[in-house]
Symmetry: C2
């Protein structure tokens, strides 16, 4: 890490058995080469990010004498599949890449999850560097060592825990991507704000939260926000305890994504999921975060839910969520912001009631977009 030359980079250390750093700041992407000693580099990205940043990075590494295999997948969740994974590991094997290679994942959460799973499984594990380009990737998928792919029955159902050597979050990249992508990441950002006491809830109300904010502000916000996840992951690497908190809003979210065949993006689904969890919490007499969840939904501006969507067909997906043991109705709720609680005793009545209220918000139904 001492080879990193940009003095302005902020650093969040993820304190696992083998600790690693998240480097945050503008321009970090240009310095990746100095952080990667390996000669053979598999650079995984998608066809949205490749023309903006991927080809440049590949060229810089090649000029530096590296043997670079640039692997460009189609954008979208459909690429996080067993078939795409198999295609990449087959390609690395055909190129004769050995254990001394490194896999760099450059892109959103889809790319870093997929590239991480490639690194975790190629030759039973090679070095991995995570370079998230989306807000979602920076605050969520980049940190924690969760890698994986989707199966037909749901998201992230196959994968491995595999920690990156480092995560590099170049905040200057955020402004180069569609503004919609930034909004998609807001749900995870404010999920961290909701389950912690970092005082970042106000950022949403203040209207300052934007990809066009000053890079120094963006970097500082991200460092604080990523720190929430880093602290939880360090306390619970294998997801046996407090790490479940990070699942806030995600049980419904994963079900929505699966039921809509991933037409709903992750950030959109999480925004709905946070509102759903807030409605249940409020009905239980916990502190009312419903107004906040509604403002978050307005910020994220998700696609409307399909008009025909009912709760009943979502329930099997919720039961199948990998955080759930068997069919237990296990949910993360908030007693108040900063105080998550895991409940195991949700009734179908509570779920039905929250669902009815959720879809009662007309703006979220098809035909009446926000």
């Amino acid at each position: 890490m001492t080879r990193m030359s940009e003095p302005e980079a902020l650093r969040v250390t993820v304190g696992l058995e083998r600790p690693y750093d998240v480097l945050i700041g503008p321009g970090i992407l240009k310095g990746i080469g100095s952080l990667v000693p390996e000669r053979r580099v598999a650079l995984v990205t998608d066809s949205n990010v490749a023309p903006l940043h991927g080809s440049q990075l590949a060229d810089r590494l090649a000029l530096d004498g590296r043997d670079v295999e640039l692997i460009i997948v189609e954008p979208g969740e459909a690429s996080k599949s067993p078939a795409t994974w198999a295609g990449i590991v087959e390609r690395l094997a055909e190129r004769g890449f050995g254990r001394d290679c490194v896999v760099i994942g450059l892109g959103g959460g889809m790319v870093t999850d997929l590239a991480g799973f490639v690194a975790a499984t190629y030759l039973r594990g090679v070095a991995f560097c995570s370079v998230p380009t989306s807000l979602l990737g920076m605050v969520d998928a980049g940190v924690g060592g969760k890698t994986g792919i989707n199966l037909r029955a749901g998201k992230n159902l196959a994968g491995a825990f595999w920690q990156p050597r480092f995560v590099a979050a170049d905040v200057a990249v955020l402004a180069s991507l569609p503004e919609r992508q930034f909004r998609m990441g807001a749900a995870e950002f404010f999920k961290h704000a909701l389950i912690s006491s970092t005082g970042q809830l106000d950022l949403l109300d203040a209207g300052r939260f934007s990809a066009r904010a000053a890079p120094a502000d963006l970097a500082a916000w991200l460092a604080t926000n990523i720190g929430v996840k880093a602290a939880i992951v360090a306390a619970d690497e294998r997801e046996a305890g407090v790490r479940t908190w990070l699942n806030y809003g995600h049980t419904l979210a994963h079900a929505l994504e699966s039921a809509t065949n991933h037409e709903l993006e992750h950030g959109e689904a999480v925004a709905y999921g946070i509102l759903f969890a807030s409605l249940i919490s409020e009905a239980r007499g916990y502190e009312d975060t419903v107004p906040y969840a509604r403002r978050l939904l307005e910020f994220v501006r998700p696609a409307p839910l399909p008009r025909e969507l009912e709760l009943a067909p979502l329930l099997p997906f919720m039961a199948r969520d990998k955080k759930n043991s068997a069919s237990a109705n296990r949910f993360v709720l908030l007693e108040r912001p900063g105080s998550p609680v895991v409940v195991d005793n949700l009734t179908s009545g509570e779920l039905e009631s929250a669902w009815t209220r959720l879809i009662g918000h007309a703006p979220f139904r098809e035909g009446a977009p926000l």
Copy 2:
């Protein structure tokens, strides 16, 4: 482990961070249920083993109130593929299996490697129990936590380290399988004898080594032999040092398997590989183990090598062997039995010379089988 009722089972503890036991003895298969607390069981086996032992075990577990998914794959290395792996994890997901399930691999090394990789990657890791039925599986694939599948470019090129909860080696099963399978396992058994000082080399000469030997003898031999691998694996879980010794005979073996499109079985290829390594060792002036390697080859009775096989097309496969960093000619040799040494400076002249001597042994060429 206290629930294990058979007093006659021998036990080898693999002393990793999370230690686990290899249980060895006749009749252990019947007691598997008492060792597996999980209600949901994915039992992976192949269509050779299923009618002999798999369906019985599935029935016993089902009678015991378990929810058993019996997954039967085709026998042979072709099933150790990305496609088969994907099919199994998709099936478990469709069945709604959660993190509280267990995967049992019942079969030879192919099945336990494949089932282990399923366990390592389904929901980012679930419990795994390894129940090898072949000699090869018992002495090799069952122990060490290596799981994996083959890619087009070579064997075991994708996978993960994932330790089983236990390994159960029922020696009574060995006599139920074709005698040829036992011979295939002999190469790994005597590889352990060659790289250690356990005094098991004589078993080959004494002519007592057979699947029909007394079960108590078989169990004792296996416990000693598995102990060699267990000690090495415990000393080097992630394969950074002495674990390389287990690769004795395997660099050529993997190349032969890949070059013959897996027509040559692993045990056959390893027998050739051990002779190859012995020839190189002898030419270097190390203790001459060539006569022993030849006797092992006679015991294993491998299929003859294809008449047209040359060394040149094998070299890329040898360089691609995952134990090799890039293209280094890295080999495990024996200074003498019990004293492995890893050399990095093999010349192409040494390889050519050993190859010429190997194929000079007419019995190993097509048309002149042993």
